[in-house]
Amino acid sequence: MIINKAGRELPDKIGNYIVKPYQGPWDVEPCNKPVYSNRKPSVTPRTGSKVVKTLKEAVLASGLRDGMTISFHHCFREGDQIIGQVLTAIRELGIKNLKFAPSAVVNIKEPSLVDFVRDGTITSIEASGIRGELGDSVMKGLMDVPVILRPHGARPRAIEAGELSIDVAFIGASAADEYGNATGQIGPNACGSLGYSFIDATTADKVVIVTDYLVDFPCVPVSISQQYVDIVAVVDKIGDSAKIGAGAARMTRNPRDLLIAERSAALIAASRLFRNGFSFQTGAGAISIACTNYLARRMEEKDIKASFALGGMTANIVDMYRKGQVRVLECSQSFDSVAARAMAEETNIIEIDNALYSNPHSKGSLLDKLNFGVLGALEVDTDFNINILTGSGGEMLGGLGGGPDVAAGANISILTIPIVRGRTPSVVKNVFTLCTPGETIAAVVTEAGIALNPKHKYYDELKEDLEKTNLKIVTIEKLRQIAESMTGVPKPIECTDKVVCIVEYRDGTVIDVIRQIKQ
C-alpha cells in the first residue's frame, strides 16, 4: 500500500494498472516523447462522398473489431441519442470487449449503458464520470476492470502520452457535409462547441461523423475538418434538442443559492485581481449562473471589463459579451441554445479545443491565464479537498469535469457549496473520494460563511483584500461544526478491498481510488 501526497491509501498495482501516486498539483513532468496518435495518412475515396446510410454500415466501414477502443463526446449532454444508437449497432454486429472512452460523464437511460456492460459489448471504461444505473452498478462491483476517471484536461494529455489510444471515434455533429466537414454550431440540434472531440478527430485511427443534418459542401463553420474524417453516417435524429440545452436557464429564485452566489461575486470583486482585463470561469450550475449575474452588476458599477471568459458558456455570459463587458468568450462547451448559436454569430465568441482549455502538459492552456474560477462539489473536507464524484450514501453522483483543472489553473479558485444538502453535510472531516486536492482551492463559500485556505498560495493577499469588506470569514473547521451540528455525524460507508474506480489527477497520477460498496 502507498499513501499518496493527498493522504490517500492506494494499492501499488490494480490488475495491470501500475499506480503512480499523486505527488502535488504541479510536480509531474510531461512525458518526453513525441505526441502519440493513431491517425495514419490515408487515401480518400474518389466518389467524393463519405456518406453511409446506416450506423451498421459505418461501424463495419470503420473496421471496428473486438477489444478496440471507441470514443464519443458529451456535448449533447442529457439530450444525446448518438451513443445509444451506435452501441446498439455495434451490439447487433456482435462486436465485443470494447473500451468505452467518452470525453466526460454519460447518463444515458434509453438504452441503458449498463446493458452493454452486462452483455459484454463494453468491458472497460475511461471517462470523467459515470452516473445513473451504470454508475451505481459499477460501485457495486459490476466491472472486472476498474473504471478510470480523469478530469477534462487529463484526457488529451493521456491520449498524447499514449496512455489512452482511440481506435474509432464517433463524433456527433449537428451539421456536416458529405466529405466530413462538421460542426455543432448550426443545424436543428445544434449543441455549440465540439471542443471535446477535437483530440479524438486528430488522433483516432478512424473517425466517424454522425449527423442528422447534411448540408451542401463545403460546410461552414468548420469545427472538425474533412481531412480528419473517414466516414459520415446520416441518421434520423442525433439528439433531443430540448434536453441538449433549451433556452437560457432562468436565474434561480432559491434564496440560499442566491446568497452563496452574491457572496462569491462579492469575494471576486474585493480581490485586487478584479481589475480591467481580468478573466473568469463560472460554469452552468444554478449558483454559477447567479454568481455571473451578480458579477456583471459589479463590473458595471466599477466600470471593469474582462479580457476573457472561459469554459462552458451560458446565455447570460453571451449577454455580457454583447454589452461589451467581456472581450472574448473562449468556449469549450455551450450549455444552452443561445450560447450554442452565438458562436456562429459573433466574432469573438470562439470554439476552443478542450486541450487548449485545460491540458496541463501543453505549451500553454488558457487556464494558465485564468484569474477566477468558480466551482461546485458534493463535499469538501477540512483540508479543502473536494469530492465531485460520490455521494454520502456511496452513490456515483457526479463527474470530475474540469474542476481539478480549473482549481489548479486559476489564481483564485472558489468553491460554492451549500453547507448541508437535506441531511447530508457538505463540509466533512474527510471526503469520501478525493478528486481535487485542497491546496488548489483558495476559498469555500457557503451560506454559513466563507473559509479561506491558509495553504493556498494566494491566501495572504485574499485575506487582506477581504478584511476590507464585511464578508463573514470563518475557519473551515467552524463550517464543519455547523454542518455537523445540524445533520449529526453520518455513518461511514463501508467498502470492500476491490477497487472499482481509479481517480486520476490532471497529470495521470492517482489521487484516489473508489472501492466497491459493501452490500
Binding site: 441531511r423 445533520t487 455513518k491 460507508i493
Partner: protein, 97 residues
C-alpha cells in the same frame, strides 16, 4: 402512554419526516423505517425514535416512518406529536425544562 388510535404527524416534504403511529394489539413495538438517508442515519433515527418511546413509556405501537432527511430534533418533535395524537393526550409542557 397507550396508543389508542392511528395518528400521523409531519409531512413527506424535503427535510421533514412523516411518522404514523398505531396500536399494536399487545404485540410490542414494531418500527418500519423508510429514509432517503437510511445508510447514513438509519441507526441514529431508530435510536431517537426508541428514546422518545421510552420517555413516553409506550410499550405497544406500530411506528411507520417516511423520512426525507429530517434533522434529529425534527424527528424527535414529530415523534412526540404523533404519540400525543395517537394517545389523545396533550403534551404536558409543565414537565418540560
Amino acid at each position: 402512554m397507550q396508543i389508542i388510535k392511528p395518528a400521523i404527524a409531519g409531512t413527506t416534504e424535503s427535510s421533514d419526516v412523516q411518522i404514523m403511529v398505531s396500536p399494536n394489539n399487545g404485540n410490542g413495538i414494531e418500527i418500519n423505517l423508510n429514509s432517503i438517508v437510511k445508510a447514513q442515519f438509519g441507526d441514529s433515527i431508530l435510536e431517537t425514535v426508541k428514546e422518545v418511546l421510552e420517555a413516553f413509556d409506550v410499550k405497544d405501537a406500530i411506528i411507520q416512518i417516511q423520512d426525507k432527511g429530517a434533522f434529529d430534533w425534527v424527528i424527535r418533535a414529530r415523534m412526540q406529536a404523533a404519540l400525543c395524537r395517537g394517545s389523545e393526550t396533550p403534551f404536558d409542557w409543565k414537565q418540560v425544562e
